[in-house]
Symmetry: C2
Subunit: 222 residues, 2 copies
């Protein structure tokens, strides 16, 4: 039977883009289906009835949801170009940082984007501390995965390519040579990898999208 692999996502979501990247790293051909989250299709609701969210991977008719779980599925299914290390302790470390990015760093970022005044300031400091932990973890290595990109690099593309777009729109510089030299060098290395560049939103379109969303948020709070 021919393999049928479909990915439901949105062009700007770091969560579906990371699945796209993993499939491309493995060389797995797939059909990409863009989803309109303001008007969820019956197909999306069928494949992800509980969370009703993207990304959804459908492999030979069976659906898998939640991006970290999909990444594990991809690595369990296609064994070439491993995403997770083989050593159990190194696997646990990779899972720890992937979870840290999603549940700590991105969660704090989400809170900060909605906060104001002193609270926003404190949350922004927390984000810097969390990014410092990533900087330290990466220190001395080309990639979080060692010599090649792995689970944490795939998940951390949100830090490499989504964070700087938000910073540009906000008019701040965060990932600088002075503060985050290791992350900055790593972003440069990621950009040299073709499939990584293919799996991120076009920069101009991305900036325009974030700008429009932030203006929407600001006008909404007035």
């Amino acid at each position: 039977m021919a393999e049928e692999v479909k990915l439901y996502g949105t062009w700007v979501s770091p969560f579906s883009r990371r699945i796209e990247l993993a499939l491309k790293l493995k060389g797995v051909p797939f059909e990409y289906i863009g989803v309109d989250l303001s008007n969820k299709s019956p197909e999306l609701l069928k494949y992800n009835p509980i969370h009703k969210k993207i990304p959804v991977l459908v492999h030979n008719g069976k659906s898998i949801v939640e991006s970290l779980i999909i990444l594990e599925y991809i690595d369990d299914t296609w064994k070439n170009n491993p995403i997770l290390p083989r050593d159990p302790h190194q696997r646990a470390v990779a899972r720890f940082w992937a979870k840290f990015i999603d549940e700590k760093l991105l969660a704090t970022g989400m809170k900060a984007s909605l906060a104001e005044g002193k609270e926003k300031e404190l949350l922004n400091e927390e984000i810097l501390e969390q990014m410092k932990l990533l900087e330290n973890e990466l220190n001395g290595k080309d990639f979080f995965g060692g010599e090649a990109i792995g689970l944490v690099d795939i998940v951390a593309t949100v830090v490499a390519f989504w964070f700087p777009v938000s910073h540009e729109v906000l008019g701040v510089e965060v990932i600088t040579q002075e503060k985050f030299p290791v992350l900055l060098k790593w972003i440069g290395k990621l950009q040299e990898i073709d499939v990584v560049s293919q799996s991120r939103p076009p920069r101009e379109k991305h900036v325009a999208h974030v700008r429009a969303r932030m203006e929407g948020l600001n006008s909404g709070s007035k």
Copy 2:
């Protein structure tokens, strides 16, 4: 080299108890170290510097944190009596429900315990709906893992043994024959397994602990 396995936990935490259960299912001897969370030891802070939480598993000097990650580590390290299925899609389904219990059901339970009035009512309804999803998932099987207990059963011991203690203290009956016959039968099957019974808090002590904590919460809100 002799294996050295240490588990840092508390007697009443479903998160460290689930690690205890997994180690016992695998037949891995370990040293249990009770942690005083109100006075965290330097050892705990050394082994889990970022989250400073239990459980922590220390295997031959290397620490692993976050209970779902520890369960994967245990299954990656000791191959007998598998906790996760071998089939990639079934693995993804097990991971989905484990994550669902921790991030949806328990998160809603935590919110409900702090809420009041109409909000509490709505959250309690949400918990029942989430438990209904578990009931449906289990329907037709002895265990979430099929014929033997697996990842989801281990994680769901919190529903089997912690939920009923809270319900008893609150004076409500939730997991009844009428509403949750499948979960009720499954709890009965779990209770027949020696290592499961050994890995839960003593019932009387557990009830007294929850009662004291709830009274503390109530007096705190006055």
